[in-house]
């Protein structure tokens, strides 16, 4: 029985690692802040969760809600953007990972994508584009949705809960 379980886990790891290298993924987290005047600011951090080198992330395309007005956009150094009411396309100007380029290398992240809207927008759909070292003429496009960064209170509560669970289990074992 143990042998069968080990084989299944091994296969899952192999499959998972293969899919990571073939289809790099990104994670975009944001911190939501309400400013004066009903303006909502979103500070995005883009994580390149690819594993294999060369899959540098160079383009982030956010789909905006048409009834929400984009008031201001700020992007990190080396990045620019083209935006209108229903989209923001922000992209790296210099190909390659730092220090040569301004792309986001696999396993790295980049903050400084700050957008302001006239109302709360929450999670947004996105497309990201990775350089494709295996087929440079066909970069890889992946889609996803932005997610909020868990608040410290949430983390503390979670930690407290886990600690509480551990403490309760220990007391049960001791008794």
């Amino acid at each position: 029985m143990k042998l069968i379980s080990a084989i299944i886990i091994g296969l899952l790891v192999i499959l998972t690692s293969t899919s990571v290298s073939a289809t790099p993924m990104a994670d975009i987290r944001y911190v939501e802040t309400e400013l004066a005047g009903g303006i909502w600011q979103y500070d995005y951090t883009v994580f390149n969760t690819a594993v294999e080198p060369g899959f540098d992330l160079y383009d982030v395309f956010l789909f905006l809600k048409e009834d929400v007005a984009l008031i201001d956009v700020s992007v990190p150094n080396g990045w620019v953007f083209i935006a209108f009411n229903d989209f923001v396309d922000t992209y790296s100007l210099i190909p390659g990972a730092p220090p040569i380029g301004t792309d986001i290398a696999p396993g790295e992240f980049l903050g400084g994508f700050i957008f302001q809207f006239d109302e709360k927008v929450g999670d947004l759909a996105f497309d990201v584009i990775f350089a494709n070292p295996l087929d440079p003429e066909n970069p890889i496009i992946e889609s996803g949705s932005t997610l909020p960064v868990p608040e410290p209170s949430t983390i503390l509560l979670l930690a407290a809960g886990i600690s509480g669970l551990g403490f309760a289990k220990r007391r049960r074992l001791m008794s």
Partner: protein, 440 residues
């Protein structure tokens, strides 16, 4: 009183009858000019003009009118022949058949003082001896008949005897002697006739052919229904503006252009004698001017010349201010890779300005305009041209097509400095965003 006058009249009749009777007896019987057929009129013209051809308005038409007593006996007149009277013997028939009579009764001439008896003149004003000759020289007949200055053609000049009238001496002082004493024999090289036919020839000149065109398109487009006027430059006061000239100076020719842009003149004679002229044409509230010089080639004798002038107008296009703004994206090559673009381009008073950005995700081509050189077309299809950089390298030009529709469309061609295509994205419907064309 009446009895006295009646008696006096009887006495006068007796005196006159006695004088006449005595004269007859003495063999110097005069005849009365009124009844005489012996007075003849002859006209003389300068023989130096072949076929009596005069150039219109340039040469003086000199005529000598001569009255001669050919009766063989003296002719007694109660009224002499003044220069005006001699002029009155003439009639001029113009090329259209209209007759013109000469002379002006307002002019007065001194009369010889007759013999008065009881306040009444009874003596003849003048007795024309046998072979009496009197003449009047008309220096320029066209001064008396102005049509000869302007209208070429055949003119007939006749001397009509019935204009020799009696003088009513002392009663009508408007008539009397004031004859010229130039004998025709002193007028060398003259043609003599009672009726002269002369030809007034057109001057050196020609027809001025004026065409009005709009030079905006290539080739130029003729402009019809455009009023055109030709003025004698001498008629235009110094300092006159084109508007003033157009409104206030009488033109020598007035016309309107046909569908080929050529002016058709309203005047019966379209000939212009060689001179300095100013041609004006008015189109779209603007007046343009062209000069026709006396010295330029094209004039010819007898107005057979041709001079062509072209009046060029630039069609005034109502200036349209255009603003093209917005951002959008589409998929220019495949359904996979997106191109995003945004712009804020305008054309104000014909001057293009603004910026355009274009980014193609697949090749990471980042185009940023550095100058807009042209915005053309009409809404909803506009073309934007300009120059810019590709990935921060300069030397590229672009031509973008924007269609403000449903959905909007966009296409762009980016060329290298040598004109070869570097990148081409056909005009395709946008998948998102919005491009707006505003025309003011």
């Amino acid at each position: 009183m009446n009895l006295f006058l009646k008696e006096l009249r009887m006495k006068c009749r007796w005196v006159v009858s006695t004088v006449v009777l005595c004269s007859c007896l003495l063999g110097i019987t005069p005849i009365w000019g009124y009844e005489s057929s012996g007075l003849s009129f002859r006209l003389f013209a300068d023989q130096d003009h072949p076929d009596l051809k005069y150039i219109r308005g340039e040469e003086a038409i000199t005529i000598l009118v001569v009255m001669t007593n050919d009766a063989g006996v003296p002719v007694a007149t109660k009224r002499g022949f003044s220069e005006i009277e001699l002029h009155r013997t003439l009639t001029v028939t113009d090329p259209f058949g209209a007759r013109h009579f000469l002379g002006d009764e307002q002019e007065t001439h001194k009369m010889p003082m007759p013999y008065f008896l009881n306040g009444k003149a009874w003596e003849p004003a003048e007795e024309l001896p046998k072979n009496w000759v009197r003449s009047a020289k008309i220096e320029d007949l066209s001064e008396l008949v102005p049509i000869m200055k302007t209208t070429p053609g055949w003119y007939t000049i006749q001397g009509l005897q019935f204009f020799a009238r009696y003088a009513s001496t002392g009663i009508d002082s408007d008539y009397g002697f004031l004859g010229m004493l130039t004998h025709p024999n002193n007028w060398k090289g003259a043609i003599e006739s009672n009726t002269l036919q002369i030809y007034v020839a057109p001057m050196s000149g020609g027809q001025v052919r004026v065409q009005v065109v709009d030079e905006t398109p290539d080739p130029a487009k003729p402009l019809g229904q455009v009023p055109v006027k030709i003025f004698k430059s001498a008629d235009i006061p110094a300092g006159s503006t084109l508007e003033t000239t157009w409104d206030r100076i009488p033109p020598v020719l007035l016309g309107t252009t046909d569908f080929d842009g050529y002016a058709t003149w309203e005047a019966s004679s379209r000939c212009l004698v060689s001179d300095n002229y100013t041609v004006l044409a008015k189109y779209g509230g603007e007046i343009k001017s062209e000069s026709v010089s006396r010295t330029e080639t094209g004039w010819a004798n007898e107005c057979t010349g041709n001079i062509a002038k072209v009046m060029r107008f630039v069609e005034k296009v109502v200036e349209v201010n255009i603003v093209i703004s917005g951002g959008a994206y589409n998929f220019p090559q495949t359904a996979t890779y997106r191109a995003t673009f945004s712009m804020d381009v305008s054309r104000t008073k014909g001057v293009p300005s603004g910026w355009l950005k274009y980014y193609y995700t697949r090749t990471r081509m980042n185009f940023v305009s550095t100058g807009i050189t042209e915005v053309s077309g009409t809404k909803p299809n506009l073309t934007i041209k300009g120059v810019g950089t590709v990935n921060n390298v300069s030397g590229y030009s672009f031509e973008a097509t924007v269609v403000d529709g449903s959905p909007d469309s966009f296409g762009i061609i980016i060329k290298r400095a040598d004109g070869s295509a570097y990148y081409s994205a056909p005009t395709k419907a946008n998948s998102g965003g919005d491009l707006t064309i505003t025309v003011q």
